[in-house]
Amino acid sequence: MAKAYSPGLQIRQRVLHSSRRILPIPGDVLGKVGDQVTSQQIVAQTFMPGDVTPINIANQISVAPSEVPSCMLFSVGDEIHVGDVLARSKGIFGFFKAETKAKTAGTIESISHVTGQVILRGAPLPIQVRAYQAGTIKEVIPEQGVVIESEVTFLQGILGIGGEAYGTIQFACQDKDEPLIASLLDESMQGKIIIGGARMTGEAVKRGIEIGVAAIISGGMDDEDLKEILGYDLGVAVTGSEHIGTTLIITEGFGDIAMAERTFNLLKEREGSEAAVNGTTQIRAGVMRPEIVIPLDEKMKAAPQSETKQAASLGILETGVPVRIIREPYFGLLGEVGEMPTELRTLESGSESRVLEVVLHTGNKVIVPRANVELIEG
């Protein structure tokens, strides 16, 4: 086959991008089609059902579960405050009545005559969804959220830690091969999205958290450093809910690895711009890569579009498209696809595999399994 399908990371200087901003449960949408929104503007909000406290009334006032409804001093839907007497037993000849008081506030959701249990639901928990991507509301999904569209510079990383963050792009490293070390970070970087070059060290991440940077983006990081930062070993690549004090995105992988030149240069072009980043990664459930979204400014929108390679954007691997090698012994090297022989080849490991030739930037050619390359799309 002269072509093969291979997924890759998107690195696009200019693309019409849309973000779906949806509430986890139905609620109110705060905007209409055509509205211009900023990245931090709230576009939808709702209230999650509050936390639930089950109270075993039957046990507490020593009655049979079937008697509980008649002992209740409140009904389903009533609001309860701490200290309210919830239920009182009938006692013996009107004496020795037992009662129970509410230890938490809430609303009575159910009273069970089978188990003698009362379910008290706490105050609703507010949930708000921000626009994330500055742009125009293109679609309103009633009761759920909106779709926002705008022309942006869009880059995907390979793994992120932490959720959404916003800030101005600022470079800490001046070269894609330069490691991001603690001494390159200073107080002026507070609230900014910091761009490194090669590996971000554990010390640099700690310094970034101390300063209060919004996010750190660099080529790689060491597994040992990640373990120390998280306090545990990341078992599966499903991330986004970590609270370490900043968002981290690695663009290439684990180890001493430089950021791809194209990624570095594209971010350099947009230095000083306001961006939104999201470290959420779900490789297993097959959906999300961490991303950096930088809306175009008016000047850029007016400029003519540069050509992009169509084949690459469709995920098609063929001669001439840019690729990154993603496994040893050539891990991290970049080049272009050369020949794509059809027949199987025996690898050093002894396995037979479909392979391709990668023409490295140095001019050298290496043969690797097709499964071990990734397209650089866009």
């Binding site: 936390d51 639901r121 070993d233 992988g253 684990f254 012994p329 396995s351 043969i367």
Partner: protein, 613 residues
């Protein structure tokens, strides 16, 4: 029910069968053709699974894998609209198309039961039997406070919940209490805002109405027969069937592209582990043996066993070779993995490599060093999954066993594992790292090291990972499925003979005498030693073993045994490393022994190196 279930197929009119398995990492496609009156598997292809962006449509991966099969077979299988051509005409199309799936992480469930060891255990067994990953078990005695249990349901967002509890006619209160806990949690499923969480009630049938009362219209409640109608009996089939139906109707239908895939398939799509279990049960039944099967995938490792006719299946979520490889290392620890590595490796670099495989799960090892390490990880993943399986596959708990005078000094209680390595007749390996190992000796070694078979055990592997396809084919065309299974799927690797007993350095373990047509050997095995004898695919040999005291081949400590060993592509393995398998603690001795096993088993022969050009 899924509409595809109603399609009528005439087995005699089926000559070309196309089957796919949409795995979490790759989508595999095979072609089965009727040639000279016999069904044979002919071509195979694979492509990355495409549930993620930019495709976000599982059928894209299916079309890519099928296209590869079509190109290899010289048969046009996909039409201009990107759909599978049916029926077959000349060298175009196929007669039926079937599929299994574990894409998108498979079916993820929570189970709830009154008592962890009883109704909750039965519910878990039913869920695992249906091919689900059980994310958590909620029960009245799990030591969590009610609000913690509710919070857990809300956090995990399972695809569905199975609720059980109480025997029929027994107490109703506890199971209703559980229902009252689940209902207010208002569980939000993984897919879509309009999706209603399916809840299957399989508990005390007399509490059915009360349970129904506890739930409102926010969930889709289905009631089936009790999983444990009486204490001494389990009835898992109705719950399993309900899980399968709801999986098709609700979960798969909400995953990207599945509606289209369901409409393409000529038989209901099964979760991959469900299909593999079907075929293993068929082998055990037909041959009247105890069998153990394993399918090691990218995200999960599934273990199946049939002992004395009882089938058990476990799905070890987060023990796998790609998405979950980092979790294997976190669970097993790096030193435990490195005990299987005979080459010099830098631990820091290895840790980074593991993470790089986790984030780019479709890569394959190019170097010998990479392969050795990956196979070491596989041994640990298999070992951990097997431990989980043994803990799960037990006799019914909560049932009092009749004891006799002879049992006076026996401490055996109810709930013993029914998995017994000494009784195991056949061990079948499946899944990428086992099926696609470049050298079959590697497959055999991985299985022996991880499962530690005792006595005599025949080893086999799924040739090209087609057990899932055949499992689903068995539902619509059992004849074709069995024919392909026997001729093309199962490859016998040989036989492993090993005694139970502790490793004692330098001590003789057993003496052996092998007699066969092409193989006649006698000798002595010292503790820690392994020996591999060539014994061809259609050959067999009589093996007489005389163990020293403390070593047992099934007849008792120090008792002589005679086996009829079956040959295979690897041969006859004599293993005197002890059971449980121990490796020497000090590094030098360990490396020396490990290297001797690698050399004796001829695991990594030199191959042509593809150098930089």
């Amino acid at each position: 029910m899924n509409s595809t279930a109603e399609k009528k197929l005439d087995p005699d009119q089926i000559n070309v069968i196309l089957a796919t398995d949409c795995g979490s990492t790759t989508t595999k496609a095979i072609l089965i053709e009727k040639k000279n009156g016999e069904y044979r598997q002919t071509f195979r292809g694979e492509a990355p699974t495409t549930v993620e962006e930019p495709a976000a449509d599982v059928t894209v991966g299916v079309v890519n894998a099928v296209t590869e099969v079509g190109e290899l077979a010289g048969r046009k299988l996909i039409d201009e609209n990107g759909e599978i051509i049916r029926p077959a005409q000349g060298d175009t199309g196929c007669d039926i198309y079937i599929s299994t799936s574990s894409a998108g992480g498979g079916l993820q469930m929570m189970v709830a039961g009154v008592v962890r060891e009883m109704s909750a255990a039965s519910a878990k067994r039913a869920a695992l039997g249906a091919g689900a990953i059980v994310m958590d078990t909620i029960c009245s005695n799990d030591k969590r406070l009610p609000h913690e249990q509710i919070q857990r349901i809300r956090e995990l967002r399972p695809d569905m919940i199975l609720l059980a509890g109480g025997t029929d006619g027994g107490t109703q209160k506890h199971v209703v209490e559980l229902a009252e806990l689940i209902a207010p949690a208002k569980p939000q499923p993984r897919f879509g805002g309009t999706y209603k969480m399916p809840i299957i009630y399989a508990g005390n049938q007399e509490a059915k109405e009360l349970v129904e009362e506890a739930f409102d219209e926010d969930v889709k409640l289905t009631t089936v027969a009790n999983v444990r109608p009486v204490l001494e009996q389990e009835n898992l089939a109705p719950a399993r069937d309900a899980i399968h139906d709801l999986f098709l109707e609700h979960v798969m239908a909400h995953a990207p592209g599945y509606n289209k895939l369901i409409s393409w398939a000529d038989a209901p799509i099964m979760p991959t582990p469900g299909a593999v279990g079907n075929i293993l049960q068929t082998i055990a039944e037909r041959q009247g043996i105890n069998a153990l099967g394993v399918d090691i995938g990218g995200a999960t490792t599934d273990v199946f066993s049939v002992f004395d006719g009882t089938f058990n299946r476990t799905v070890s979520a987060n023990l796998g070779m790609s998405y979950s490889i980092s979790n294997v290392c976190a669970s097993a620890t790096l030193p435990m993995i490195l005990r299987w590595v005979h080459l010099e490796m830098d631990p820091r670099e290895l840790q980074n490599r593991i993470k790089n495989k986790m984030i780019r799960p479709t890569t394959i090892p190019q170097t010998k060093e990479g392969l050795v390490f990956e196979q070491a990880v596989a041994r640990e993943a298999l070992r951990l999954a097997y431990i989980q399986h043994k803990e799960f596959a037990t006799t019914l708990k909560g049932v009092q066993q009749q004891r006799t005078v002879g049992d006076t000094f026996s401490q055996v209680s109810s709930g013993q594992s029914i998995v017994d390595n000494m009784k195991l007749n056949l061990l079948v390996g499946s899944g990428g790292v086992l099926s696609h190992a470049p050298n079959m000796n590697q497959t055999a070694a991985m299985m022996v090291d991880a499962f530690e078979p005792e006595g005599m055990t025949v080893l086999a592997k799924d040739s090209i990972f087609m057990m899932p396809h055949l499992g689903v084919l068995a539902q619509v065309h059992p004849h074709a499925a069995l024919q392909v299974f026997e001729r093309d799927c199962l490859i016998y690797l040989g036989t492993c003979i090993a005694p139970r007993g502790f490793y004692r350095s330098g001590r003789t373990c057993f003496q052996y005498q092998i007699s066969g047509n092409s193989l006649n050997e006698t000798g002595e095995m010292v503790c820690g030693e392994m020996k591999l004898f060539p014994l061809g695919y259609d050959e067999s040999a009589t093996v007489i073993v005389e163990p020293r005291r403390g070593y047992d081949f099934g007849a008792g400590s120090g008792k002589r045994m005679e086996f009829e060993a079956r040959g295979g592509t690897v041969g006859l393995i004599l293993d005197a490393r002890g059971r449980p398998l121990m490796v020497p603690a000090d590094e030098q001795n360990h490396l020396a022994e490990l290297t001797s096993w690698v050399e004796e088993m001829k695991l990594y022969p030199e191959t042509h190196v593809m150098a930089q050009r």
